[in-house]
């Protein structure tokens, strides 16, 4: 508090030469360090250290022990990774999440951009419509899963409406349909958030572009593709990234909606396997190895998405 003596200093910090040494080293308001210290400690303890710990663990023969007990946990190189890659259940879970992403990500981008640009232009019932789209996003997955179980169960409303068209075996116990139903569920559940992001992005598209498109005689569809879509490209990149990460994080839905990744592992996700192997079966080293592989996959996908969206721009 005593470090700030002159009000002009914030602007003039670079110019005025004779300054106390401490200030040159810490910046003009070292108090900022104090203010950010709790957050910084939090990040180190909850993000930085655990990440390093996870990678380290994946190269050890790591097992649970009572707190404070010194046990020997040998370095085993890539053994955990080899075990993971030889496990057909792991391959299946990655295939499942691939199916999930192929359905969920494009559907999310298309629906949220279309609904957001439609919402952006309505005048009446604006508040009602927006709130309707946000409700699934703010409600707890666990609660919403309950009603989907009811809707999509064997004798549920969906099958009753479909009558003879109902799939056999029913949705959630059908190995072909379990994963697509989960993908639809998550798309529906999260869409409100992405609509919110696109609505924010749409405010930044210059109005003049729409006006000149209108003077040029472009129709609604044409304007959408040549003004709106390019105008919100940064948001699209963000939506792609977040929906991919959310998809890779899939756990609650296969755990509850299909009773632990059923039928027969057809809807198991990598995170579900991490839970089963790491915590239920007590192999945190193997689970960490799955986690590291998963993150590498997500990074590769994110990199490709970034490239694709960027290329389109140039």
């Amino acid at each position: 508090m005593t470090t700030i003596t002159r009000p002009t200093e914030v602007e003039a910090q670079r110019q005025d030469a004779p300054r106390p040494r401490r200030r040159r080293w810490l910046g003009s308001s070292p108090l900022g360090l104090l203010f950010t210290a709790p957050y910084l400690i939090f990040i180190c303890a909850i993000f930085a250290y655990p990440i390093v710990f996870a990678v380290w663990m994946s190269f050890q023969d790591y097992f649970f022990s009572a707190p404070g007990v010194e046990v020997d946990r040998p370095f085993v190189g890539f053994d955990n990774y080899i075990a993971v890659l030889q496990d057909p259940a792991v391959w299946q879970s990655f295939r499942n999440v691939g199916v999930f992403l192929i359905i969920n990500v494009p559907l999310t981008v298309v629906l949220s951009i279309v609904l957001a640009s439609a919402l952006n232009r309505v005048v009446h019932a604006r508040a009602f419509l927006r709130v309707s789209y946000y409700v699934p996003y703010v409600a707890a997955s666990v609660a919403v899963v309950g009603v989907w179980l009811f809707l999509f169960s064997g004798g549920g409303l969906v099958n009753n409406v479909l009558g003879d068209l109902a799939p056999v075996p029913s949705w959630l116990i059908n190995s072909q349909l379990a994963m697509p139903v989960i993908a639809l569920f998550v798309t529906w559940k999260q869409l409100g958030f992405y609509i919110l992001l696109y609505l924010a992005a749409l405010q930044n598209v210059p109005k003049e572009l729409y006006e000149s498109a209108a003077t040029d005689g472009a129709g609604g569809v044409r304007t959408f593709f040549s003004v709106t879509v390019p105008g919100v490209r940064p948001a699209t990149l963000l939506v792609l990234l977040i929906s991919t990460i959310t998809g890779a994080n899939l756990f609650t839905e296969p755990y509850l909606l299909t009773g632990g990744g059923g039928p027969n592992g057809a809807s198991a996700s990598p995170v579900l396997l991490m839970y089963q192997k790491g915590i239920e079966q007590g192999n945190p080293d193997v689970a960490s190895a799955i986690g590291v592989i998963l993150i590498i996959c997500v990074l590769i996908i994110a990199f490709i998405q970034r490239r694709l969206v960027r290329d389109e721009e140039s």
Partner: protein
Amino acid sequence: MIRFGMVLRYILLLLGALVFLFPFYYMVVGSLQATPDSSPAGAFPAPGNLTLDNYVAVNERINLLQGLVNSGIFTGGVLLGTVVFGLLAGYALAVLSFRGRGTIFALVLLVQVIPFQLLMIPLYVMIARNYGLSDNYLGMILPFFISSVAVLIFRQYFLQLPKDLFNAARIDGASELRILWSVAIPLVRPALLTVVLLTFIGPWNEFLWPFLITKEASMQPLAVSLANYISSIAASTANPFGSLLAGAVVLAVPVVVLLIIFQRQFVSNDIGSGVKG
């Protein structure tokens, strides 16, 4: 032609809204049915088939009040940490200039894209095994203690305040703490509400982490005890879907009510700018 487009837009949006709202309507209807009716007619409440028994039934198996209290303590702890320390960090990043500010801001952005699944196992080992904080509120709260999204939103709001305001206060001899408390915070009160609402949703709905760390039923947030009910107990009750949906209504109602009351605070620009940094 323009009229036609407008009508079409409204039809599309209303149909969409129906798809988004119907499951919630159906959740409430289903939770009130004495015998589950999954025929199309069952989607409408039948006067003879209405009961509150399902709420009683689910409350006998899982203590709804205890679950709500646990969810409340978990959420309250996260809100406290986020509002106090998140605000301080956001303020410092926006207003104060100090060494390492750029690095810390980069960290805030980086943290947004780190998925929880990589942290799940090491955090479980650390918090549950090494520190013995399983079945403990502190253990539940710790990984979510300061929301990074909140830091970004706070920073964004403080950036929008005119610099002259702070300079004027400094000329008057106000200390940095005093400027923060009597000048900056009163001006960002709307942001405070937005952050509280957004942060509330996270821990209230969080399932995976409290599920990993609580085994004792009396410590479980409602989302966890309801999930356990769905996956194991529900089948053994008289009306499994009815009681399950009754629990779901209790879990979902607080957040949905908050959304409806404070819908203006879910303003897209604030949240969008927060997420975009």
